[in-house]
């Protein structure tokens, strides 16, 4: 299998009758990398993953895992994959222990040491029935079963949903450790900060189409963080025109409330704000929309040029 990419998707289209699924996706995931698959809800992330897992047949194009066709050779694909679905639904009458034993029974080997390590790390409740578990605890069970047999490839669909912030942090740290052990990880998410933290490269999907594949550095350059600033008196928006990496997104309340899009050049902005009658400031984490915005802005002049 050396030299064969863990995931190779080529011109993949999957449609649901008249509904859009994914259209003409092409990307490759390299060995030992964490590939973030970023997009808003309904963009086509789960459809792509279901094709990779052999739940859906491609309408056209191909999806391969370690060189194996995801539809016709799906059984062999699953031998090499640990999977967490986007919506974790487990057989409710099982206990956590029974679930892990059941899922482990299909695998050639499950190391007791690894099992213990995962259970301790994710603090999984084993003795309660699944129906008695909270969403977060079910999610932790799903994570443990995916990593239990130590597969070379992990396909994770929104794996942190339902986890508390501490456990989210712990899980992302664990992902980086697994990457250091040589694992390849396909991480689907709509949370820009978590993808930005762990992914080596990021595929951005929107309305079924792959918009771009970026390195983490490229992603950071393209995204902005939203900042809301409140002033004691109206401020002229042009005061921000010469601050590099800052865009005025909206001016409200007669010029006293500004919404800004801020790239990484925070010191210059802070110096400018210090000169102004600032009363309050909120600086939010980067969001996905800001990335899409950069693409709209890039597309718009091209379209205008083409039209003229």
């Amino acid at each position: 299998m050396s030299g064969v990419p863990p995931i190779a998707v080529e011109r993949l289209t999957r449609s649901y009758g008249t509904q859009r699924g994914v259209i003409d996706l092409t990307f490759t995931v390299e060995p030992g990398e964490i590939f973030g698959f970023l997009g808003p809800n309904g963009a086509g992330k789960t459809t792509t993953i279901r094709v990779l897992m052999g739940f859906l047949r491609p309408t056209s194009g191909s999806a391969r895992v370690f060189g194996l066709d995801c539809w016709s050779e799906s059984t062999r694909v699953k031998e090499r994959v640990g999977y967490v679905p986007g919506d974790v639904r487990i057989w409710e009458n099982m206990t956590g222990k029974q679930f892990l034993e059941f899922m482990g029974a299909f695998r050639a080997s499950v190391s007791p040491e690894r099992r213990e390590m995962l259970l301790e790390r994710f603090q999984v409740e084993l003795d309660k029935r699944i129906k008695q578990l909270s969403r977060g605890n079910r999610q932790k069970l799903a994570l443990v079963q995916a990593f239990l047999h130590d597969p070379p490839l992990l396909v994770l669909d929104e794996p942190t949903s339902g986890l508390d912030p501490l456990m989210q942090h712990e899980f992302l740290t664990f992902l980086l450790e697994e990457k250091d052990r040589g694992k390849t990880i396909f991480l689907s998410s709509h949370q820009l900060p978590e993808v930005e933290r762990v992914a080596d490269r990021v595929g951005i999907i929107r309305e079924g189409r792959l918009v771009a594949v970026l390195t983490r550095e490229e992603l950071k350059q393209r995204r902005t963080r939203p900042m809301e600033v409140v002033f004691a008196e109206p401020v002229d928006p042009t005061r921000f025109a010469d601050v590099p990496g800052v865009r005025v997104l909206a001016v409200e309340n007669g010029g006293t409330r500004f919404r800004l899009g801020v790239q990484d050049n925070l010191p210059a902005l802070l110096r400018r704000l210090a000169e102004l009658p600032i009363v309050d400031l909120t600086y939010a984490p980067p969001d996905l929309e800001s990335i899409f915005l950069t693409y709209y802005q890039a597309e718009r002049p091209e379209r205008q040029e083409a039209a003229s």
């Binding site: 897992m53 859906l56 057989w91």
Partner: protein, 269 residues
């Protein structure tokens, strides 16, 4: 097949099949206990029953040409195996068979079910085997109850008759179990799969009744699997062998078709 999957499917069915089996066992023994009383007053009962319209007998799977109380087999057929037993057992088989695929999709558990490195055909085959085990348990416990009832209350039942009854009941349930898993392989909701098979059963039942009542409509019996269901002849040791074979061919054929359909369909939980 996949043994972990077979055991899980059996575990999922075990309580349901136990309660169905227990209910049928109690019913069979209870009815068998009435046999000595009815046998003593056979002629009076025969006279009373002759006053009822033929339609009423047909509805409950009874051929009015055969005297009801001339034998233990006739009595148990009229009271249990002609209608109550198959109706009850079919509810179990149809609901369990319809759950095979459709319930996993409906509840969203299909994503874990299909994430294991086992082919879809083997996964479904494992569930079909578990359903077969459930059917055998239901049939064998009923057969044991019948044998015990016959021994305790003076009914005539040969081992040949009992064996043929086991074959008749098993093949009958396999036929509809196969159809139920086939409907389930297409469906994404258990209720839709079960509803479809229940509709087919109802149509077959009506065709069978009408075929028994009208000479012109006798051809309808070829459209109904009920025609090949003959527990009374089986209990008497006079079963026509083609009858269970028809059921087995339909059941196994439908089960194989279910494997093909499930292997090719998309799963959107």
């Amino acid at each position: 097949m996949s043994w972990p999957m077979v055991w899980k499917a059996i575990r999922d069915l075990r309580l349901t099949v136990f309660w169905y089996a227990l209910g049928l066992v109690v019913y069979i023994v209870l009815l068998a206990s009435f046999y000595p009383t009815l046998e003593r007053q056979r002629e009076e009962f025969e006279r009373v029953l002759q006053q009822y319209p033929e339609f009423l007998f047909r509805v409950f799977g009874i051929d009015p040409q055969h005297s009801l109380f001339t034998s233990f087999a006739g009595f148990m057929h009229a009271e249990t195996f002609g209608f109550i037993w198959p109706a009850t057992a079919l509810i179990f088989v149809v609901l369990s068979g319809a759950a095979a695929v459709a319930q996993e999709v409906e509840r969203g558990t299909a994503e874990f079910w299909l994430a294991v490195p086992v082919s879809r055909a083997r996964l479904l085959l494992s569930k079909q085997l578990a359903l077969l085990a459930g059917i055998l348990f239901l049939v064998l416990t009923s057969a044991l109850a019948l044998a015990a009832g016959a021994a305790a209350f003076g009914g005539e039942l040969t081992s040949r008759g009992l064996g043929q009854l086991v074959l008749t009941l098993t093949s009958f349930l396999i036929a509809f179990g196969g159809l139920a898993t086939l409907a389930s392989a297409f469906a994404s909701e258990r209720s839709k799969a079960a509803g479809l098979v229940a509709g087919v059963i109802l149509l077959m039942y009506l065709a069978w009744i009408v075929a028994g009542l009208s000479e012109e409509a006798r051809w309808l019996r070829y459209l109904s699997l009920m025609t090949a269901y003959d527990p009374q002849a089986a209990m008497l040791g006079e079963l026509a062998w083609y009858k269970p074979i028809v059921h087995l061919v339909v059941g196994i054929g439908a089960a194989l078709a279910a494997l093909v359909v499930f292997t090719r369909r998309d799963i959107v939980a």
